[in-house]
Amino acid sequence: MNNLSETSFMGKITASVTHEMKNVLAIIRESAGLMEDLLSLAKDDSFPAREKFLKIISRIGDQVTRGVDLANALNQFAHGPDQPFATVDMNRLIDQLVFLCQRFALSKRLTLKHVAHDRPLLFRCEVLKVQMTIFRGIDLLLNVADPGAILTIRPTDRGDDKVSVEFSYEGNGIELRNIPETVKESLWDPLVACAESLNAKVEAGSRPICLRIVFTRHGDQ
């Protein structure tokens, strides 16, 4: 583990823990499965709470699946720093990020959605920095949209060497062109700085598309 950067260190530990989480989930799934097997062997009338137990076992199964999805997304995210530059599919990258950010949206009573481009959007980039820039965009919108709003992120191929990520929201909130100075300092300026470090451009628009980040592809697609 020589010459580990802070992000690689975090990623390595997180990825390792996600493996352990999957082992825990595997034991829970098999244990619930064994209970189900044993119940199916028992006669219908020999266990009065049978139906209730079957429902509980089914709920355990659903939660294991949810845990596996989270562990998978977290594992992929944690492997981001493995290769600072990599070719990724922007659809998949945003899908994963939106999945991992659902808790932030829920806590503000907002809906966060991703509408994928109709074909893979291969993009050679600094993966972690691109994720962070998009996250800053999400974070900004989560703070300007009112509860109940629906936020949608949509990547599109601009047909040249550029990929654009558009953020739109339905519902009430503050127009990005009129954001208060405090929001500008704490959320808008860091987003712009993050984007500029990638030679990406941030544009504020009028709703429904209120924010656009335009990334430039690197060579070697």
Partner: protein
């Protein structure tokens, strides 16, 4: 599933013992062990048709066990269990002669399907 003989190898004891019990409830003769070294000893003793083998184990790892099994008992089929983001391990295992690989946590129905296909292959399609 009567007559199927399977060895499960995984250092997660609760996982492997529970999975073995579930397979036994379905009429499969399932033995279990928590280490690669012990697995090689049991294979020599019990001659299973299929070995279900975790890739990530302390001591002798799954890929090393796989290589030893395939070099000594080419007719025994090996199904690998991998973690998340370990498709690379699974593909490497296939290159080394594994029958197939599954990701943990697995679905028992999917495992049984794979065991069935592996036994059919080992028996030349006559299982």
């Amino acid at each position: 599933m009567e007559g199927w003989k399977v060895l499960l190898v995984d250092d997660e004891k609760e996982f492997v013992s529970t999975l073995a019990e579930r397979l036994r409830l379905r009429g499969i003769q399932a033995d279990e062990t928590g280490s690669g070294e012990e697995a090689l000893r049991l294979i020599a003793l019990t001659a299973p048709q299929v070995v279900v083998l975790d890739v990530m184990m302390p001591g002798m790892g799954g890929l090393e066990v796989l290589q030893r099994v395939k070099s000594t008992y080419p007719n025994i089929e090996v199904i690998l269990l991998t973690g998340i983001g370990s498709t690379k391990d699974g593909m490497e295992g296939m290159r080394l002669g594994a029958f197939d690989f599954l990701m943990k946590p697995l679905q028992i129905e999917e495992l049984i399907e794979k065991i069935k296909a592996a036994i059919e292959k080992a028996a030349g399609g006559n299982a």
